[in-house]
């Protein structure tokens, strides 16, 4: 068996180019698998343990306000394991430099540890309910602390009930409901400079909001197996006297749903990408082994004649594939773990999760098992023809390869117009069906991966354009603490450099239709507003109706409502009684993230039984005045938040660099896949036809003509591959997007013509590069050697 081992080594060495190319493809496949599986395992484990350690809530109830004692009542319901009652409220923050930010002020009854949605301390110490020197203590999320250059012991200033209240930062902490810390879906990505999580003791929140003994949220953890629906409606009944504003399960919690969406899409990618690379590698291996077996028929016959069993010979040839796969698994695992490290870091910047790190030996084990399985399957099916080799027969010389007429010949006029060299190429491609299939498939895979990569780039482009050049055209969006008279906007419009002020109102509502209820917000736009525009599913801008409502697509889908239907809107402002109004659905708009329902400012006022209130405004300003305007706005205590479009763009752009890196890596990998497949295909066909090619040279064909023949072979396979690759890539993009789409997130598959062209060009690039790599040695074709030997 030692001899066989040496033969194995020599066999690999003499085909080293091809084995190297395959090992490379497997390395990429395995490294993608390891990198993504490891990272998403990390993320998954971190999520699970973080949720468990901090009693992440199963269900949320929002009320206007209710007595603290209601928590005890709820806790006594069978099936309820834990209850926490708290106050949570978004507040304006005045930063040290006078500018605005906003914070989700979240309060906790003490002791903290046992509470639902408890927090994990990262730095400093926990707050105390009654600090010795008076005042109030807070924890902030580490990203906010870092982004704003705060130190422990410094104060943050919030505005509550129109008063400015200092909170002393005593530590940083993260909580399971703030893993992905965005204010709402319109922000897309976290912006820790302008949005933070502030955590304080419940008693301090009650004082700040002037709600002694009251709370506005109930968080519940159910005992496993409990009849949650019954419990939820029981709790809703209990809470109904206090103004049921909202009730939603964990899966609708903002941070959780986004983290889950990331995990889902990550897990899909962790399977999808490696499978493509491994499948192509397996295909090449099968073809390569079949060729080896054919070429070494005589040797195999001799080995069998010497007494080696079928199984031994089969195993010997399979071990070529296995060896290559194991090398790929080894390199891929190492590379994958390295990638995983940077992916972990990338996720750490998006998600506030502890311990997204570590290596999972199962992932490595799986990667080796996966590679071994690919190697065995490819090896055995590649060398299966060995079983049929008869020692005696193998000694006879083999007739020339059997060619046949192909489909093209059914069109005699076309076929006759081809030169003999083209005919040779077509027949060779048709004769080697398996190889052709693998080559075309490989090119299709590479090109569709290219297209998907470019599409990701397009998607980001599209999103930025749609969002910041079409939907929102304002420089600033200002939101007040609560609805105000529209005359309040006069002060703003009189500021120096303010060119335009457009009023709007946002009203939290429940929409009922046909027995279904969805919590949403109605956005009332003043007549003539043009700084924020809804778009329909075809991407056309829509006019705001004076009466009736434009539903968001997601809300419409959940309700089952269509244009013309009459829906019921119930306001859920946290003061005053809910008001119920019936509205006609005028049309349906599409948002990339989340859902917004539009109506006119006048109609929105009617929903509140008001005539002239607004909750915010959008501004166009002179660029030169923006900082003074921002400062002036910050001084107005009634203003809850000031969003700067430019700052949002900057923030997103800075985060997108890492996605661009990912796109770049995918393009690079697709290129290598394409290169490897073309290289292997040419080398195989070259090796098989060496003798024929040499005989062309003796007849007087030039080297250029002979390598041109190889190019013809390549193009016959690559061109259909390139062309099929484009629709396949688009199709895969559609499948991918629909598999990662969630209630909150959906995306049109819009691929720019440039991406198609680029995919084709890069595809053509790897075809020519592979051709060049493979035919470099062609000039060494030895006519004399070739003329001497039979196969």
């Amino acid at each position: 068996m030692k001899v066989l081992y040496r033969k194995l080594r020599r066999g690999i060495w003499s085909n080293r180019g091809q084995f190297f190319a395959m090992a490379l493809v497997i390395t990429i496949g395995i490294s993608l698998y390891v990198a993504m599986s490891n990272t998403f395992s990390n993320l998954g484990y971190a999520q699970e343990s973080f949720y468990n350690d901090n009693n992440f809530a199963d269900h949320y109830f929002h009320v206007v306000h209710a007595p603290e004692a209601v928590a005890k009542q709820i806790a006594s319901i069978p099936g309820v394991e834990k209850v926490t009652a708290r106050i949570q409220q978004d507040v304006a923050v005045i930063k040290a430099d006078g500018t605005r930010a906003s914070a989700r002020l979240t309060s906790y009854p003490l002791p903290l540890a046992e509470q639902v949605n408890s927090v994990a301390l990262k730095q400093g110490r926990l707050f105390e309910a009654y600090p010795a020197n008076g005042g109030a203590e807070a924890l902030v999320d580490p990203s906010y602390l870092q982004a704003n250059g705060l130190n422990l012991g410094e104060n943050v200033e919030i505005i509550a009930e129109g008063r400015q209240i200092p909170l002393t930062v005593v530590g940083t902490a993260i909580g399971p409901e703030f893993v992905y810390a965005i204010k709402d879906l319109s922000s897309m990505v976290p912006d820790p400079k302008t949005f933070g999580i502030f955590m304080i003791p419940l008693n301090q929140a009650q004082e700040a909001f002037n709600l002694p003994g009251q709370i506005n949220q109930i968080l519940v953890v159910f005992t496993p197996g409990a009849d949650t629906e019954a419990i939820i409606s029981h709790i809703q009944d209990l809470l109904s006297p206090y103004g049921n504003l909202a009730s939603y399960p964990r899966k609708d919690q903002l941070s959780h749903s986004l983290l889950d969406a990331e995990l889902t899409s990550g897990r899909i990618m962790a399977r999808f990408f490696p499978i493509i690379f491994l499948a192509i590698a397996a295909g090449i291996q099968i073809v390569l082994l079949r060729r080896m077996v054919r070429m070494q028929r005589l040797q195999i016959g001799i080995m069998k004649g010497l007494g080696f069993s079928n199984a031994a010979v089969l195993f010997h040839y399979s071990s070529y594939a296995l060896a290559v796969c194991m090398i790929g698994a080894l390199c891929g695992s190492v590379l994958g773990l390295l990638f995983s490290q940077s992916l972990n870091q990338l996720y750490a910047t998006y998600f506030n999760l502890p311990n997204v790190e570590g290596y999972h030996y199962q992932v490595i084990t799986y990667s080796f098992l996966l590679a071994a399985a690919v190697g065995m399957v490819a090896g055995l099916s590649g060398s299966a023809p060995i079983v049929n080799i008869n020692p005696a027969e193998s000694m006879r010389s083999q007739p020339p390869s059997k060619s046949a007429h192909n489909i093209l010949e059914r069109l005699p006029s076309l076929w006759q117009s081809l030169s003999p060299l083209w005919k040779m190429s077509f027949r060779s491609v048709a004769r080697n069906r398996m190889r052709t299939l693998v080559t075309v498939g490989g090119v299709v895979a590479a090109v569709s991966l290219l297209l998907i990569s470019f599409f990701m780039n397009d998607a980001i482009d599209y999103m930025m354009k749609q969002y910041y050049q079409k939907e929102m055209l304002y420089d600033y969006m200002v939101r007040f603490d609560q609805p105000v008279r529209s005359s309040e906007l006069l002060a703003i419009s009189r500021m120096d450099g303010v060119n335009q002020v457009e009023a709007f109102i946002e009203i939290p509502v429940k929409i009922h239709y046909n027995g279904r209820t969805v919590e949403d917000a109605v956005n009332g736009q003043a007549e003539g507003n043009r700084l924020k525009t809804p778009f329909d599913s075809e991407g056309n801008p829509m006019a705001i109706p004076e009466q009736g409502i434009i539903l968001g697509e997601i809300t419409a889908r959940k309700l089952g409502a269509e244009p013309g239907d009459l829906i019921t809107v119930e306001t859920t402002l946290n003061r005053g009684e809910p008001i119920i109004t019936e509205l006609t659905v005028v049309s349906i708009n599409r948002q990339l993230l989340g859902s917004v329902c539009y109506t006119s400012l006048a109609q929105a006022n009617r929903l509140l039984h008001e005539a002239d209130v607004v909750s915010g405004c959008m501004l166009l300003v002179d660029p030169g005045h923006s900082s003074t305007i921002e400062a002036q706005l910050s001084d107005i205590t009634g203003i809850n938040s000031i969003a700067s479009r430019q700052k949002e763009i900057d923030n997103i752009t800075s985060l997108l660099d890492s996605s661009m890196l990912f796109v770049g890596i995918m393009i690079f990998f697709s290129l290598i896949l394409g290169l490897a497949i073309i290289y292997n295909s040419i080398v195989m066909s070259y090796n098989e036809r060496k003798k024929e090619l040499a005989s062309l040279l003796t007849m007087g064909f030039t080297h250029t003509e002979v390598s041109g023949l190889m190019l013809k072979d390549t193009l016959i396979q690559a061109v259909p591959g390139l062309i099929i690759g484009l629709p396949t890539g688009r199709w895969l993009a559609v499948v991918y997007i629909s598999s990662v789409s969630t209630d909150m997130f959906t995306f049109p598959v819009i691929i720019s013509p440039v991406s198609y062209v680029l995919s084709l060009l890069v595809g053509l690039g790897f075809v020519l590069a592979g051709y060049w790599l493979a035919t470099r040695g062609l000039s060494s074709l030895d006519m004399i050697e070739m003329s001497k030997y039979v196969d």
Partner: protein, 236 residues
């Protein structure tokens, strides 16, 4: 009337160098090849027959000496000049046919025909080698003798001045071998091509105008036959 000298070799040597060892496959050889003659090169294995043939055919380069095709100095020709020379003037027939397996008989011949401006008609050439019935067959569907006929048809369709045949009957049975030789002589008569046949079968010498006997890289003897025997008439 003196026959034209097509190829002239003057003190041609060919030495193969393989690392430390060098093999002198051809030692200071001078020879003229005449238009329209049938030349048989005989000699034991390793005596340099194929080496000589390949040099004449422009497939290999000499180590020293001079080689002319008419006035053209092949010893100093560039690779592309050699290719052009093979394309325009040389037809090769090998022991193992070396047909293109992906082309039919007809297409194999067409392939060669496509190399020159004024080829013979492929169909006629195939008829001449007796394979008009097999135009649409692939090499794998033909017997050895039939494949060799195709390879002859492929060589002559270009109207080469010189047909170089290395062991053309080497892989064939006795009777088939004879018909191939007949075919070669017929080509010589009909098209006036010079035919050079390399073989280790001494009996075949009788069909040539001249017979060159080689031994260890040298021409040992040149024999001129008063008349050529027909392949039918020889025995081996």
């Amino acid at each position: 009337m003196a026959k034209e000298i097509l190829v002239h070799l003057q003190d041609v040597t060919k030495t193969y160098i393989m690392g430390e060892v060098s093999v002198e496959a051809l030692k200071a050889t001078s020879l003229d090849i005449l238009a329209g003659e049938v030349l048989v090169i005989l000699g034991p294995s390793g005596s340099g027959k194929s080496t000589l043939l390949n040099l004449i055919g422009g497939m290999d380069r000499l180590t020293s000496g001079e080689l002319f095709f008419r006035q053209q100095a092949l010893h100093s020709a560039s690779n592309s000049e050699l290719t052009q020379y093979r394309r325009d003037h040389i037809g090769f027939v090998f022991q193992f046919y070396n047909l293109i397996s992906d082309l039919t008989s007809y297409e194999n011949v067409e392939l060669a025909a496509s190399l020159v401006d004024d080829p013979l008609s492929s169909a006629e050439v195939l008829e001449q080698v007796g394979l008009q019935e097999r135009l649409d067959h692939f090499p794998a569907q033909l017997s050895g003798g039939e494949q060799q006929r195709i390879s002859i048809a492929r060589a002559i369709v270009k109207r080469p001045l010189i047909l170089l045949c290395d062991e053309p009957t080497g892989a064939l049975d006795y009777q088939t071998g004879k018909t191939i030789l007949e075919l070669l002589l017929e080509v010589n008569l009909r098209h006036g091509s010079t035919v050079v046949i390399v073989t280790h079968n001494a009996a075949i010498g009788a069909i040539g105008d001249r017979v060159i006997r080689m031994s260890s890289g040298r021409i040992a003897e040149i024999q001129i036959n008063a008349s050529r025997a027909t392949p039918e008439g020889i025995e081996w």
